[in-house]
Subunit: 393 residues, 2 copies
């Protein structure tokens, strides 16, 4: 596999885009990424598009082909939708990387898109349940807030101060979101507001849950050897090297999950990502991870090894995961504040990491040279982890 | 990219499987393929699963993760659903090939699955429309039978004997299906029955349309260097070499389609497949192609270059595309008779081609050494073409 970098990024704002169709939303992010890369659509050799519930909520499949047509990609460029629930975007990125790294093409686009806000909360909750095993968990009436609520109860048994841990995650991410122009719901929020917000799935409250979001994100990937010449041009942005991008699987149903406080797919993905990149947790300067609920950030950070096991809640409360802390987590605002347009989320995390590594993020992490992204599907049935590096790191 | 072969195949019968859930159906085909290959689940490095409307009709996504769990694949094996409407299976195959050819793993499974019969004709027709551009064609009331009905009218203007051409396709494929133990609807059917069957989308009649089907198919793919040692064992089946597997895109909506009698995605895919394999149409011994309607077989055969442009109808009527003809097409019975469980179809075609090249097909083509498969999505928005070869060819 040859060295590959991200050379262009694009994203819509995360939030509400009721009037924009799915394909147009995705195409807008792709066009921005192409312009950022200085690469023309006819040069693109493949498009992978992450999308989860476009069929169920918008009656639209073959979305990758529609977007490829709108962009004017060559007929020879394979355009494929990939799906792995909330990790669809991370999968799209890995597939695009694979195409370029294997030498099938020099340039590829990885994009993700979702539209949910038009459907209303009840239909969205039902649609999200498509990520649940319909033979085993579906018939029980379990929902994803319900699942993570159960996990929060188990967490509470291990940590007497659980509530303050969760509140600290939400307050940090909402504050980070305030500085991110793409974020749906940044807010300077008090502990009291968080802890008195309506119960969604006891003990999780409204402020423990990510919002319902529309949005799209895209990155352009290039073989390093194919962009050498372009980089000598004035104004070219530094490519961000893909040091690792891996995908793993985990148990899909509650009865098969051994420990509600750790996702085996994340543990395995982190292990692989460190092995492939030759890096260790101490090399990581910041992480964008999958905080679909406040609790999930705590579990993810521990599974990824960037915070010691059992310590993520305390670290968060102590401010050690803030942008100026030991291990900045979700500087973008994360899913909790930036929003969670499901199929777009994994690519959106990469967008944020590239902005950060280029030194152009609105919420900068000092001397950031190596960043990690983590995208989780369902209750851990699929996970992708990527590590990005500045070329000089 | 290193040389890769198909070393195991599995398939359920195509037809009705109302009581079997989607994941179990797919897992059954995968288990059969693994047993056929003599490869254990823990050796598998990746699973790609083609599925189109499992979300809409069964409320089930993250299907690849569920199947990977049921099979007991390693946690390190990426399990991804891919979607490109009726070409989802062909896309899954190409992705699995890519993983192995690029050296990311030595063994991978490509599978496809669909369940439709439980939903009834009206819901299925609506679900299939997810493959249509919902901004442009969706609101017009167009359906896929409607689209191909329009194309059949154009075909009729060019060919006075159009009806006998379409009838000949249906009669051949139905007769082929009679000999295929996996086929849903083989039949020794008279021209009169075909031509007096109910109109579905004028001028297309019921016998011009493929049925609504459930089913799953799977193939195990291996790097040639990884199976050398196994092949020396007694009873090992000859691997079937993947000479080419390509994917292209085409116009997604009627207004963008220049010619209703040719799919640009197929023309481009065939061109690429011949180039990659170094073969030409005259080298192809048989073709399994995407006959979702009787007319489509005629258009596909001409687009693939295996029959001269404008001649496929006449060739079919003259018996030249029968198993004993110059260019055997859809010896399996094709979508018309074998059935069309949408996401499974592309992998089912590869299953049939491998059986044929191994010399174990119930409907043999004499001295078949090189076979082609062709899988089309929507009205040509995506296409995959693969060429398989016997190792001694």
């Amino acid at each position: 596999m040859r060295p590959v970098s991200i050379v262009g990024i694009g994203s819509t704002r995360f939030g509400r885009h009721k009037e924009t169709p799915l394909d147009a939303l995705a195409a807008a992010a792709c066009r921005e990424a192409l312009a950022d890369a200085g690469i023309a659509a006819p040069e693109i050799g493949a498009l992978y598009l992450g999308n989860f519930i476009g069929g169920v909520l918008s009656g639209q499949e073959v979305l990758a082909g529609l977007v490829g047509h709108q962009l004017g990609l060559p007929l020879s460029a394979p355009c494929s939708k990939v799906e792995g629930a909330c990790a669809s975007g991370g999968i799209a990125f890995r597939q695009a990387w694979m195409s370029v790294a294997a030498g099938l093409c020099d340039f590829a686009i990885a994009a993700g898109v979702e539209k949910m806000s038009h459907a209303g909360t009840a239909r969205v909750t039902e649609a999200l349940n498509c990520a649940m095993d319909q033979q085993r968990d579906g018939p029980t009436g379990l929902s994803f807030p319900g699942y993570f609520g159960m996990a929060a109860r188990v967490y509470g048994e291990a940590h007497a101060e659980w509530r303050s841990h969760l509140t600290a995650v939400t307050r940090k991410n909402k504050a980070n979101g305030l500085k991110n122009p793409l974020a749906q719901m940044g807010e300077d929020v008090s502990a009291e507001t968080v802890e008195h917000s309506p119960l969604v799935a006891d003990p999780l409250r409204l402020y423990d849950c990510c919002p319902i979001s529309d949005g799209a994100a895209a990155v352009v990937i290039a073989a390093d050897e194919a962009v050498k010449e372009r980089l000598s041009r004035a104004g070219a942005k530094a490519p961000i090297r893909i040091a690792a991008t891996v995908q793993t699987r985990g148990a899909p149903d509650v009865a098969s999950i051994r420990n509600l406080l750790s996702f085996e797919a994340t543990v395995e993905a982190a292990r692989q990502a460190y092995r492939v990149s030759g890096l260790s947790p101490s090399d990581i300067d910041f992480v964008e991870l999958h905080d679909c609920f406040s609790l999930t950030e705590i579990l993810d950070a521990e599974d990824l090894g960037v915070v010691p096991r059992g310590m993520a809640g305390a670290w968060t409360r102590e401010g050690r995961t803030r942008p100026d802390g030991d291990m900045p987590i979700n500087v973008s605002g994360g899913l909790l504040a930036k929003g969670h347009p499901v199929g777009a989320t994994g690519v959106g995390q990469l967008y944020e990491a590239v902005r950060q590594l280029r030194g152009e993020h609105a919420n900068p992490v000092k001397d950031a040279a190596i960043g990690m992204t983590h995208n989780l599907g369902g209750a851990g049935v699929v996970c992708t982890v990527s590590i990005l590096k500045r070329a000089d790191a």
